[in-house]
C-alpha cells in the first residue's frame, strides 16, 4: 500500500509552519517522527491528507532542558533520547522506563515524544506518565494541562492550526515518586495491553496521589476515585486502591486481550505501580 500523493513542506520556523497549517487546513497534517502518521496514511486510516508539514527543520524542538521549575522537552525529542538521558533517568526513572519500553530501537529513534502525545493513541506509553507527573502540553500560544489534553482516540485539545512544541513536567516535589507499569504480550516491540502510571507524595501518609490508566479507555484515564481514595491513607491500602482503579477502567476487548483480562491486569499493575511509586518517594 503506497502512501498517497502528497506534498511535503519543511518550514524553518513555527510561524511558517502555522501559516502552512492555516493555509491548507483539513488537508494538512503535522509530521513529527511519522511513525504513526505514515502508517495511518499507508493503511488508509486517514484520508484527505494532501500536505505534510514537517517540524524537523524548525530549531529548538529537539532539546531536553532542565529549568528552575521543571523540565521542558522539545516535541521532537525521541523516546531514545529520553530513555538514555542521564538526568532524566535520575529524576524521572518512570519516564525513562516508559520511553525505553516503546516499540523497537528504530522506532524509538524515529518517533518523537510530541508525536506520541499528539497522536493520542489510547495505548500511548508516555501519556500516563506525563499526566501523572502533572505535565503540560505547550502549544504554539497556550499551555494545556495534559490531564485535559486528550479528548478521544486520536483527538486532542490541539487545534488544527496549533502545534504542540514542548512538553513540560514540573520538578518533582520532595518525597514524590512516580512509577510506570505496563503489560505487553511479548518482550519487545509490542503495544501495551494495559498500563498504569502512579504518582505519590508521602509524608507518613499519602499526601498526594495521581493514578492514570493506559490502554483501558478511549483516552489515558485519570483514575480520579482511586487518586482521591489514596489521599490521607497509609501505604497499606494499595491493594484496595488497585481494586478501585479496576472499577474505574473502561476497557474494550480486542486482539490483545479481553475486557475482563484487562481489568485483571489493571488491578495488578495499579498495585505494582503504587508500591514502586511509594518506594521511589525516598
Amino acid at each position: 500500500m503506497p502512501i498517497p500523493d502528497l506534498q511535503l513542506h519543511r518550514p524553518r520556523s513555527l510561524e511558517e509552519a502555522r501559516d502552512l497549517l492555516a493555509r491548507f487546513r483539513e488537508s494538512a497534517r503535522v509530521l513529527a517522527g511519522g511513525t504513526d502518521l505514515l502508517v495511518d496514511l499507508r493503511q488508509d486510516r486517514v484520508t484527505g491528507v494532501e500536505h505534510l508539514v514537517a517540524l524537523r527543520e524548525i530549531p529548538g524542538l529537539r532539546a531536553i532542558e532542565e529549568l528552575p521549575d521543571g523540565w521542558r522537552f522539545g516535541a521532537l525529542v525521541t523516546p531514545e533520547m529520553v530513555a538514555r538521558h542521564p538526568r532524566v533517568r535520575e529524576t524521572f526513572p518512570a519516564l525513562a522506563e516508559a520511553a525505553a519500553c516503546m516499540a523497537g530501537w528504530q522506532v524509538r529513534n524515529l518517533g518523537t515524544i510530541g508525536g506520541n502525545i499528539a497522536s493520542a493513541v489510547p495505548s500511548s506509553d508516555l501519556a500516563p506518565f506525563f499526566i501523572a507527573a502533572g505535565g503540560e502540553a505547550i502549544l504554539t500560544e497556550r499551555r494545556v494541562p495534559l490531564k485535559d489534553f486528550f479528548l478521544g482516540p486520536r483527538r486532542t485539545a490541539c487545534a488544527r492550526d496549533e502545534i504542540l512544541t514542548h512538553l513540560f513536567v514540573p520538578a518533582p516535589a520532595p518525597r514524590t515518586g512516580i512509577s510506570y507499569q505496563r503489560f505487553a504480550l511479548r518482550g519487545a516491540n509490542a503495544l501495551a495491553v494495559a498500563s498504569v502510571a502512579a504518582m505519590l507524595r508521602l509524608d507518613g501518609a499519602i499526601e498526594d496521589a495521581r493514578v492514570v490508566l493506559g490502554a483501558v479507555a478511549p483516552i489515558p484515564l485519570i483514575a480520579a476515585k482511586t487518586s482521591a481514595f489514596l489521599i490521607g491513607k497509609p501505604t497499606s491500602v494499595f491493594a484496595e486502591a488497585a481494586k478501585i482503579a479496576r472499577e474505574e477502567a473502561r476497557p474494550i476487548s480486542d486482539v490483545r486481550g479481553s475486557k475482563e483480562y484487562r481489568l485483571e491486569i489493571v488491578e495488578v499493575l495499579a498495585a505494582r505501580a503504587l508500591a514502586q511509586a511509594a518506594e521511589r518517594c525516598g
Binding site: 500500500m1 502512501i3 509530521l31 525505553a100 516499540a103 524509538r108 503489560f183 511479548r186
Partner: protein, 980 residues
C-alpha cells in the same frame, strides 16, 4: 503528481534522485538507487528488515520520507563492507551461523553495528534491547547473539565430527557472504527492463457469487497496462493434490474467502496498480458463510464447493490393531480435548514472482518458492504447455516453512499479465496479503484417548481430529493424513485408531507448515501422556522411555523405522537439563516440562502420481508402491580446468541451508575442498528435477542424488589416475584435491590434473545421480502413502520457564534439546534449525494466532498484531545431538528442519502446567487463559482406573529393507553458551 530532485547522502556518496514527496526512503533506496539490500518485510515499522542508519542511528526506512532525509548521512548494508573487506561484524554473522534465509540480516547487522558503535562490548541484555525491533523467523536469534558477542573474533564450537573431510563440519553457509552484504537477490529485488508491477484484488466478502466485475475505470487509468479477471484465466483448476484441484487462478463464479483473488492489474508501478485496484467495481450476490468447522459439516450449512457434501474435503478412517481390545487391557484410560491454533508461516520475505515470455514462447518465471518443480508442473498444467517450454528460476528465498511450497496466484497472474502485455511483470505480496493468502497451520480440534498399563506401557490410542481447512484444499488432504499417520512413529502403539475430517470453511486455505499437520496432534499427545504419567505416578521421561520407539521397527501403521536413537535423546536431555533435581521440586510459578517429536526425512511418494508428463496428457495412473521417477536428481559438471565443480540440482535453498549441505556432500564425494564446489540450484534449465524443500527431504534425498553424481565423476577419473599411478582403479581413493593409493597415501595424483586430462580426451566431465525412495514403502490401506519415508528423526526437549502468577505472563527461560538427526552433515546448521524451531514453536505455543472477525476478515494481518517472538522473548538454548547413523541417508544423515519443531509445543505446555497447576489445552497458551484457569480453578477431567485385562507384551514387527547399526551412543553439543 510532483517530483523533485533531492540529494541523498547514501554510504558516503551524494546521490541526486528524483522523488515524489510521498516516497519512502525504502522505496527510493530499492527502486531508484538499486540498493536492494534494504529489505521490505512489512512496510509499517514492525519487522526491522528495512533498518538503515541515519546519522548513525538505526531507523526503519519504510517510516521515513526520502524527501525529508535530505542532507542526513544514510548507511545501508551495502555501505558496511569497505574495499571489499567484510566488516568484522558481518564476518561474525557468517561464521557464527547468524544467517539463515538472510532476509533480516541486513537490518539486524545495521542495528547491531549501531549498538557496537556505542558500546563495543555489549552484554546479552543490551544486545536484546538493541535488536528488539528486528524480527527473525529462522535463527531463534541465537546465532545472532553469538555473532554480536563474538564480533571481535572469538568463535563458538558446535560439536563437529572428525570422520570426513567436509561432511560433519560446521562450514559457514555458502550464501552467507552475499546475504550479509546485501548482494543476495531475492525475487522482489530483481528488475528487468520495461518491467510492470502487478497487484491482486481480493474478494471483500467471505462467500458470494460474482455478479459483475467492472474493470473499465481501472483500465482507463494512466499507467495501467492490463487488467484481468476470472474470464481471462484458463478454465482449469489447480492446487496441490491432484485429487483436489479446486482453485481457479482468479475466481470465476464464486468467491469463498475474504481475499480470494478476483482480479489483477499490471501497471507501470505498484502505486498505479494499487490505485487501479480501487477503481475496480465488483458486485456480488452475497451467500451465507460458515467459519466454524463444526457448523460447516452440519446438514444445511452453506456449501463452499458443490462437489463436497457437508463441506467434507477429506475423510480419514484408519484403524490398526484393535483399540477396543487395547482399552480393555489398559489399567488406566484418559481422554482429553485439545485445540491447535491457526498460525501463519510468516517468512520474513513476502511471496513474489516475476514472469517474462521469451520470443520463442518460453515462459520464464522467477518465483520465491520452496518447491520450484511443483510450480513448474503447475504452470504446465494451467497453461497446457510442456514443462520444456517453461523455465523456473528461484532467486534467493527469504524463508518458507511450508508457506511457499505451493504455486501462488502471483506466479500464475504475473504469467498471464506478462503474456498479455508482452512485458516482464513483477508481483509481490504485501504482509497483509501474506496473511490473507495464508496456507498456514490448520486449526485442529482434537479429541484423544490413551490407555496404559500400571507401568505406563501404552495399550491403545485413539484420536479424532476436525481440521479447519479454509476455502480450498491446498496441501490439506495430506495434512489430514499426516495428523494421524505420524503418531505411531515415536512410541510403540499396539492399537491405534484415527478419524480425521478436513472441512471447508469460508476462510483462507490452510496448508503445510513446518511439521505438516503433526505439531498440533503431537502437542496434544505429549500433553495427554504427561497428564497420564502424573496421574498414575510415573516420571514423564520414564513413561516415554518405557514406550519409546526402537530402531529397525515397523510401526502399527506399516511405517519402517530404521535408525532410531529416541531413547538416547531422552536420556541425554534428562541428564543435561538436570531433570531429576528440578521436576516436582520447583517453587510455584516456575515450571519444567518435557516434549518429544520427530518427522519424516522426505515423503516416500511424490505429490502427484505417475511420471512428470503433463497431467492432462496422462492416462489415469493407479497408485503403485514404488516411486515412478527419482525424487532427487543431480548433475555434477567439472569445469574444464579441473579446478571447480558445479553441482546442479533443483533442490531449493530457502534459508534452511540446503545449498551448503549439498555442497559439502558433493565435495566429500568428489574428494575436493568445498570451496571448489558451487551448488547451482536456482534454474530449471540447468538443474534436473528435485521435488523441493518440503517434508524435510533435501538432505537425505537431494544429498543422495548429489553423492551419486559426485561418485559418478570420480568413477570417470579413477582410470586416468590408475594409469598415472600404475595401479588398479580399485586401489584408489579421493580426498583433499588428490587421488591417491589407499594403502600408500603419498602416491597421489592431483585431482584437477586428472580432470583436465579427462576433458582433453573425452570432453565434458559430468556425473549424474538420482535418488528414489525404497520400493514398497507403506501399507496397503487408504492413505498409507502419507507418513512413509526412507528415515525418521527423533528428538526430546526440556523447557524451563517462569509464570507471573498475577498476570499469567510466561517467560521461557531455557530449552535443552537433543536430537537424533542421523549423522549431521553440518552441526552448526543443525543447531541453527533447532534454535529456530524452538523459538518459532514456543511462539506458536504462547503468542501466535490468526484471528478472524464475524465476517471472516483477518483481524491481525500484520506483525503489529500477529506476534512473533522477538529476541527479548527467546530462551537460552542448549542443542545437542546423539550418535546415530541412518543407512538410507548420505553419510548417515537424516532430517532436522521440521522434526525440531515437534517436541517444542508439548514441552512448553507441560512446563506451564508444572508452574501453575493448570493445563491449558487450547493453543495459544496466552496469559489470559493461564490467569483465568488459575483463578477459576476449573477441575480437570481425570482419567479412569479400571480392571485392565491381562495382555501379552507388545512385540513390534521388524522393519523391511536395510537395518540401522547400533551406534556407539555418544552425544555432542554446542560450546558453553554465550547467552547466559
Amino acid at each position: 503528481m510532483t517530483y523533485r530532485t533531492v540529494v541523498l547522502k547514501v554510504n558516503g556518496r551524494e546521490c541526486p534522485v528524483s522523488v515524489k514527496d510521498g516516497d519512502t526512503l525504502l522505496h527510493v533506496l530499492r527502486e531508484k538507487l538499486a540498493l536492494t539490500g534494504t529489505k521490505r518485510g512489512c512496510e509499517i515499522g514492525d519487522c526491522g528488515a528495512c533498518t538503515v542508519l541515519v546519522d548513525g542511528g538505526p531507523m526503519n526506512a519504510c517510516l521515513l520520507l526520502a524527501a525529508a532525509v535530505e542532507g542526513r548521512e544514510i548507511t545501508t548494508i551495502e555501505g558496511l563492507a569497505k574495499g571489499g573487506e567484510l566488516h568484522p561484524l558481518q564476518r561474525a554473522f557468517v561464521e557464527e551461523g547468524a544467517v539463515q534465509c538472510g532476509y533480516c540480516s541486513p537490518g539486524m547487522i545495521l542495528a547491531a553495528k549501531a549498538l557496537l558503535d556505542r558500546n563495543p562490548d555489549p552484554g546479552v541484555e543490551e544486545i536484546k534491547d538493541a535488536l528488539g525491533g528486528n524480527l527473525c523467523r529462522c535463527t531463534g536469534y541465537h546465532g545472532i547473539i553469538r555473532a554480536v558477542r563474538n564480533w571481535k573474533g572469538a568463535r563458538s564450537t558446535h560439536g563437529d565430527l572428525d570422520r570426513h573431510e567436509c561432511v560433519g563440519r560446521s562450514l559457514p553457509r555458502v550464501d552467507a557472504i552475499d546475504k550479509v552484504t546485501g548482494r543476495a537477490k531475492y525475487t522482489a529485488d530483481l528488475a528487468f527492463p520495461g518491467m510492470l508491477h502487478a497487484r491482486l484484488l481480493g474478494s471483500a466478502i467471505a462467500h458470494g457469487r460474482i455478479r459483475r466485475i467492472d474493470t473499465s475505470k481501472a483500465e482507463a487509468l494512466q499507467g495501467v497496462a492490463a487488467v484481468i479477471t476470472g474470464k481471462d484465466v484458463p478454465d482449469v483448476t489447480y492446487g496441490v493434490s491432484p485429487a483436489r484441484y479446486d482453485e481457479h487462478v482468479l475466481a470465476k463464479e464464486k468467491v469463498r474467502y475474504v481475499g480470494d483473488p478476483i482480479a489483477a492489474v499490471a501497471a507501470v508501478d505498484e502505486e498505479t496498480a494499487e490505485r487501479a485496484l480501487k477503481l475496480i467495481e465488483a458486485e456480488y450476490e452475497e451467500l451465507p458463510a460458515v467459519f466454524d468447522p463444526e457448523e460447516a459439516i452440519r446438514d444445511g450449512a452453506p456449501l463452499l464447493h458443490d462437489k463436497y457434501k457437508n463441506n467434507v474435503n477429506t475423510l480419514v478412517e484408519q484403524h490398526f490393531g484393535d483399540v477396543e481390545k487395547g482399552f480393555a487391557e489398559a489399567d488406566y484410560v484418559r481422554e482429553e480435548s485439545f485445540v491447535g491454533n491457526h498460525t501463519n508461516q510468516a517468512p520474513m520475505e513476502p511471496h513474489a514472482s516475476i514472469a517474462t515470455w521469451e520470443g520463442d514462447g518460453t515462459l520464464v518465471l522467477h518465483s520465491s518458492t520452496q518447491a520450484p518443480h511443483y510450480v513448474h508442473y503447475m504452470l504446465a498444467h494451467v497453461f497446457k504447455i510442456p514443462l520444456g517450454r517453461i523455465r523456473v528460476v528461484r532467486p534467493t528465498v527469504g524463508g518458507g516453512f511450508g508457506g511457499k511450497a505451493a504455486t501462488t496466484p502471483l506466479d500464475l497472474c504475473s504469467s498471464i499479465l506478462a503474456r498479455k502485455t508482452g512485458r516482464p511483470v513483477r508481483a509481490v505480496f504485501t504482509r497483509r496479503e501474506v496473511f490473507e493468502y495464508n496456507r498456514g497451520r490448520h486449526r485442529q480440534h482434537m479429541r484423544m484417548k490413551l490407555g496404559v498399563k500400571k507401568d505406563g506401557r501404552i495399550t491403545a490410542f485413539q484420536s479424532r481430529i476436525l481440521l479447519d481447512g479454509g476455502a480450498y484444499s491446498s496441501f490439506g488432504v495430506a495434512t489430514a493424513y499426516y495428523a494421524g499417520g505420524m503418531m505411531p512413529t515415536l512410541y510403540h502403539l499396539p492399537n491405534y485408531k484415527y478419524d480425521g475430517i478436513r472441512v471447508y470453511t469460508n476462510k483462507p486455505a490452510c496448508g503445510a507448515f513446518r511439521g505438516h499437520g503433526v505439531p498440533q496432534p503431537r502437542f496434544a499427545f505429549e500433553c495427554l501422556l504427561n497428564m497420564v504419567a502424573e496421574e498414575i505416578g510415573i516420571d514423564p521421561i520414564e513413561i516415554r522411555l518405557r514406550n519409546a520407539m526402537d530402531r529397525n521397527t515397523r510401526t502399527v501403521n506399516d511405517l519402517d523405522i530404521r535408525s532410531c536413537e529416541f531413547k538416547a535423546t531422552l536420556e541425554a536431555v534428562r541428564e543435561k537439563a538436570g531433570w531429576a533435581a528440578k521436576y516436582g521440586k520447583l517453587a510455584r510459578g516456575r515450571g519444567i516440562g518435557v516434549g518429544c517429536g520427530g518427522f519424516v526425512s522426505g515423503a516416500g511418494y511424490a505429490i502427484y502420481r505417475g511420471d512428470v508428463r503433463l497431467s492432462h496428457e496422462k492416462q489415469p495412473q493407479p497408485f503403485v508402491k514404488e516411486s515412478v521417477f527419482p525424487h532427487g536428481n543431480a548433475m555434477v559438471r567439472v569445469l574444464e580446468d579441473g579446478m571447480a565443480a558445479v553441482c546442479m540440482i533443483g533442490a531449493a535453498e530457502i534459508g534452511q541451508g540446503a545449498a551448503t549441505i549439498l555442497t559439502q556432500i558433493c565435495a566429500e564425494g568428489l574428494g575436493i575442498p568445498p570451496d571448489r564446489v558451487r551448488t547451482r540450484a536456482e534454474d530449471s534449465d540447468l538443474c534436473p528435477i528435485d521435488l523441493g524443500a518440503y517434508s524435510s527431504r533435501v538432505t537425505l534425498m537431494g544429498g543422495n542424488a548429489v553423492l551419486m553424481a559426485a561418485r559418478d565423476v570420480v568413477k570417470k577419473l579413477l582410470p586416468i589416475a590408475a594409469t598415472e599411478l600404475k595401479c588398479k582403479a580399485g586401489q584408489l581413493e579421493v580426498g583433499g584435491g588428490r587421488i591417491f593409493v589407499k594403502s600408500e597415501p603419498a602416491r597421489a595424483m592431483d585431482w584437477a590434473e586428472a580432470a583436465r586430462r579427462y576433458f582433453n580426451a573425452n570432453g565434458p566431465l559430468v556425473g549424474t545421480g538420482w535418488y528414489k525412495p525404497p520400493k514398497g514403502l507403506g501399507g496397503d490401506f487408504k492413505g498409507a502413502a502419507v507418513g512413509t519415508s526412507p528415515a525418521y528423526s527423533f528428538g526430546s526437549s526440556v523447557c524451563e520457564l517462569s509464570v507471573d502468577l498475577d498476570t499469567g505472563k510466561v517467560s521461557v527461560e531455557r530449552f535443552t534439546d537433543f536430537h537424533d538427526c542421523g549423522t549431521p552433515v553440518n552441526p552448526m546448521s543443525v543447531h541453527g534449525q533447532v534454535e529456530g524451531a524452538i523459538v518459532m514453536g514456543a511462539g506458536e505455543t504462547l503468542l501466535e494466532e490468526m484471528v478472524f472477525d464475524a465476517k471472516g476478515r483477518v483481524v491481525n494481518p500484520s506483525f503489529h498484531d500477529y506476534l512473533l517472538m522477538t529476541i527479548r522473548d527467546a530462551p537460552e538454548i542448549f542443542s545437542g545431538l546423539v550418535d546415530s547413523y541412518e543407512p538410507e541417508g548420505p553419510f548417515g544423515a537424516k532430517e532436522i528442519g521440521e522434526g525440531s519443531t515437534l517436541p517444542v509445543l508439548g514441552a512448553v505446555a507441560h512446563a506451564v502446567a508444572n508452574a501453575t497447576g493448570v493445563w491449558i489445552t487450547e493453543l495459544p497458551i496466552t496469559p489470559e487463559k493461564i490467569l483465568f484457569a488459575m483463578k477459576n480453578g476449573k477441575p480437570r477431567s481425570a482419567g479412569k482406573w479400571q480392571e485392565g485385562r491381562p495382555s501379552k507384551p507388545f512385540r513390534p514387527k521388524p522393519c523391511r529393507g536395510k537395518k540401522a547399526p547400533d551406534p556407539k551412543g555418544g552425544t555432542r553439543g554446542q560450546s558453553p553458551k554465550v547467552l547466559a
